[in-house]
Amino acid sequence: MKITEQQVRYVADLANLKLTDTEIARLSRDLDEILTHIETLNELDTSQIEPMAQVLYDAEQTATLREDRERAPIGNDDALANAPLAGAGYYKVPKVIER
């Protein structure tokens, strides 16, 4: 086993995902199978290979710098239009700090 149910619960906690016991059992099985397949990467010696974080191609070194120009932001009302709960120009969430 690459991964135990206990580890799956721990990872779900890290990911802020509430999962049912059925989902935990299913995910333990699926992740175990996928992680076993992923182990094939260990056949490769990559100690001398630079990691590739992004697709790169030739461009001027300063190419991604642009002029610093003002641009109107979308504004509070539009930004909050999709909020499940908003008030006084802010997103509202359950109470975090007790007074």
Binding site: N16, K18, E33, H37, L41, L44, T46, N82
Partner: protein
């Protein structure tokens, strides 16, 4: 008066243009006919999630006004298009195929959408897809699967299944999709249309809801190579709103669609044919023979890191997805579940909102990035990714283009592969390598199986050589008679 436009299901971009020029129909008449047809046909496939008649008619009216005033209405004037529902549209619901965004109304347009409309295109609606573009069958949509127009009991492929189905069904002339590991090319091959994944950075991702940022692309689907080239020419090019968009000038992809590919060196990577005994494999072999007849020089090549691509891809894409999907926490995006504390609210919202495949990928991505595993998984995968990219660089020293299958098999039956996520992942083997390397790649129809299921051939070229890719695809399409084969 509703004058219906004849043959609306089979129009090409250029036929729309000449129809407008010769006053056979107005843009408004075409938009009305296209909407009417699309809405009537949609229950068969579920390709569209929602339609945008007001926006479509407003765009069509602008085109008609320009034509009446003697102004240039733009290269895509009046062309009915469909937009995958992971690409945001101002004021028009964008769900990403997810319950979490069921009621999300974006406050701005994606750059690709804005450029299409500026060129005169008419957006008919938003197309169904796997939730947050995660899937190879379109069965992971929260709003029901899409059915393949070529065989209604089969999947259209994914994740851009709705876009591919709409184009194949004739309910859009062209469509936008997105591709992270094959999500444009695989559904294009399953539905018998052309699907293009351009060079990484060629098309701005501003307004594409992020899945795996180092791999995400926007690209076109159409019924002919020419139509997809026209759309790509319109949406490609640097965008200040996406710092990863490329500065390279956009050439006129249509200038060299002359059918002449004599002397072109084409690589056939042996690793892509090992164990490929399906009818799809036979059709690719026939396609290669056809290219040889056109005067191409066929060379056997090797891309040795291919067998590691699936493992590499599913580390990188899930790691990046787990970060990108962290934002759906019940605070900003429409859907919130009740919870006593902030933390409970996050967990309840995400637990209830995400479907099974998204959860699986968030979990795998969180696991590979968690404390103590980063080097063993994410960093290792980035090193393997460098090897895969190097394979292609080496190959392009010897050849001008590479030709491979798109998928090991044609469209499968709904439900057939749902229970085995690893098997579903492994079927992406031929398409994910192009995304990992960031090179342009496309699927072009190469015939049908005995049961009538479409099969696509993949063409890959060097970074920014979309011109060469379109040229080969167009010559092949003309020689094979596959244009508009659906």
């Amino acid at each position: 008066m509703s004058t219906s436009v004849a043959g609306v299901a089979a129009l090409t971009v250029e036929q729309v243009r000449s129809g407008l020029e010769q006053r056979q129909f107005s843009a408004v008449e075409l938009a009305k006919s296209a909407l009417e047809f699309a809405q009537a046909e949609n229950p068969k496939t579920n390709a569209y999630l929602h339609f945008s008649p007001e926006r479509a008619l407003a765009a069509a009216e602008r085109v008609d006004r320009k034509i009446a005033a003697g102004e240039d209405p733009g290269p895509l004037a009046g062309v009915p298009v469909a937009i995958k529902d992971v690409i945001v549209t101002k004021g028009l619901r964008t769900t990403c195929g997810s319950r979490l965004l069921e009621r999300f109304i974006p406050p701005y347009d994606a750059t690709a959408v804005a450029r299409l409309e500026a060129a005169g295109a008419v957006i008919l609606g938003k197309t169904n897809c796997d939730e947050f573009a995660m899937g190879s069958s379109n069965e992971n949509s929260a709003f029901g699967p899409v059915r393949n127009p070529a065989a209604l009991d089969r999947v259209p492929g994914g994740s851009s299944g709705g876009s591919a189905a709409a184009v194949a069904q004739g309910t859009a002339v062209v469509a936008l999709g997105s591709d992270t590991g094959g999500s444009i090319r695989q559904p294009a091959s399953f539905c018998g249309v052309v699907g293009v994944t351009p060079t990484y950075g060629r098309v701005s991702r501003y307004g594409l809801v992020a899945f795996a940022s180092s791999l995400d692309h926007i690209g076109p689907l159409g019924r002919s190579v020419r139509d997809t080239a026209l759309v790509l020419r319109t949406i490609a090019g640097r965008d200040e709103c996406d710092s990863t968009s490329a500065f390279a000038p956009v050439p006129d992809y249509l200038a060299r669609l002359d059918g002449n590919v004599r002397g072109l060196k084409i690589g056939v990577p042996r690793e892509y044919f090992e164990g490929l005994t399906s009818e799809s494999g036979d059709l690719i072999q026939k396609a290669i023979a056809l290219l040889k007849n056109l005067g191409c020089e066929i060379r056997d090549i090797s891309l040795p890191a291919t067998k590691y691509a699936v493992a590499c891809y599913y580390i990188i894409c899930t790691a990046e997805a787990s970060s990108n999907l962290a934002r759906y926490d019940g605070v900003r995006y429409t859907t919130r579940a009740d919870g006593e504390t902030l933390s409970d609210m996050y967990r309840e919202t995400r637990g209830a909102g995400f479907g099974a495949e998204c959860k699986r990928r968030i979990m795998l991505g969180t696991y590979v990035l968690s404390h103590g595993y980063y080097d063993a998984y994410y960093l290792k995968a980035q090193r393997v990714r460098a090897l895969i990219a190097q394979d292609f660089r080496d190959a392009f020293q010897q050849v001008d283009a590479i030709v491979t299958p798109v998928s090991p098999f044609p469209a499968f039956r709904l439900g057939e592969k749902l229970d085995d996520p690893l098997e579903m992942y492994l079927s992406d083997i031929y398409t994910i390598t192009g995304d990992l390397a960031g090179i342009p790649c496309m699927s072009v129809p190469c015939g049908k199986t005995a049961a009538g299921l479409p099969v696509g051939m993949q063409i890959l070229t060097r970074h920014f050589d979309e011109t060469g890719m379109f040229r080969l695809a167009d010559a092949f399409e003309k020689a094979g008679g596959f244009t508009g084969s659906n």
